[in-house]
Amino acid sequence: MDKSKLILIIPAAFVMGFIVVHSLRVNGPALTRKFFFWSFLYCYTKEFINAHSRQPEYFSSGLELFGTPMMVPFGWVISIYLSWFLAECILCPRGRNPAKVLPTVGLSSMIIACISFMVECSGGNMGWWEWNYSVPGLWHENALLKMPVKIIGGWGTTNLIFMSFFMVYVVSPWREVRHKALKIIGIFIAVGIPLGLLASNLVTRGLIVAPIVTMTAFMFLLWPRLRDYRASRGRRVIDSAREMRGRRSLD
């Protein structure tokens, strides 16, 4: 193994330890187990498909399981958790707010895009992984600081899809919200991904803003739905939850 990878592996191991302890203390053992299991499964599957495709997007070495480099899914899990944590810090610092489930998903996708910009540029330049520029949309002229600009949108998309399902199906308690989330994911798949692919194929070198503009446009598309959700559903559910607590305390 390339010894320079220890610069990546040792801090990542510490960070993994920190976030597991943080999650156990803040979210409890059940939610921690669910988060780490589902996020690892999702990320490993994604990377497994990439590694065994006819044209893998990147080449990496190191510890592998069934031909998939294990460092990548671990990196994904760390990034997804930290972006979720930062989004909740900004939107609801005192604890999870039922009315801010979907905005948290959106903001965490933006934050993971920032993390990707930093990690991909350092890792790519260190040679920890190499991009396969023969894949359409990843060509070399379209790379900024040795990172294909499309990748920023890719991180955001991966996080958005996982967190939408996780927050709505595992964390959020309301069944009604699930239909709304499915609609949002449907719109994203129908509009956001083609727009992102178009933008990343059209941009020339240095136009890093294109994927970010696409993500922002998508957020604007989402905003009326989020606002309606917050105004109606969120408040009502908070009120009913408070009412229930009141009833319990009276009993």
Binding site: F18, L82, C114, F117, L145, V171
Partner: protein, 86 residues
């Protein structure tokens, strides 16, 4: 009075996070380790100061999140003092 069915009852337990303000430094330490590692790699291993620009967006996000947490903690302390003073 309309009875709540099991499906409509909000299970608020899974939404609750326990003392997020108290345990936040653990996760903040995690994100700062990543930022510092990337910064040091860019500066001392790659020796490419242009790469330092890539750290700026996430550093802004983390600093802002720090600020929000600190403000919430300060509010809580003020509230606690007011309550203790009666």
């Amino acid at each position: 009075m309309k009875q709540d069915t099991a499906a409509n009852q909000p299970k608020i337990g899974c939404m609750e996070s326990r003392e997020p303000l108290k345990h936040a430094p653990l996760a903040f330490a995690g994100i700062w380790i990543i930022i510092v590692t990337c910064t040091l790699t860019n500066l001392f291993v790659l020796r490419n100061p242009v790469l330092m620009l890539t750290v700026i967006p996430i550093a802004i996000c983390v600093t802002y999140a720090h600020k929000r947490m600190a403000a919430a903690r300060a509010e809580d302390i003020v509230k606690a003092r007011k309550q203790s003073n009666g």
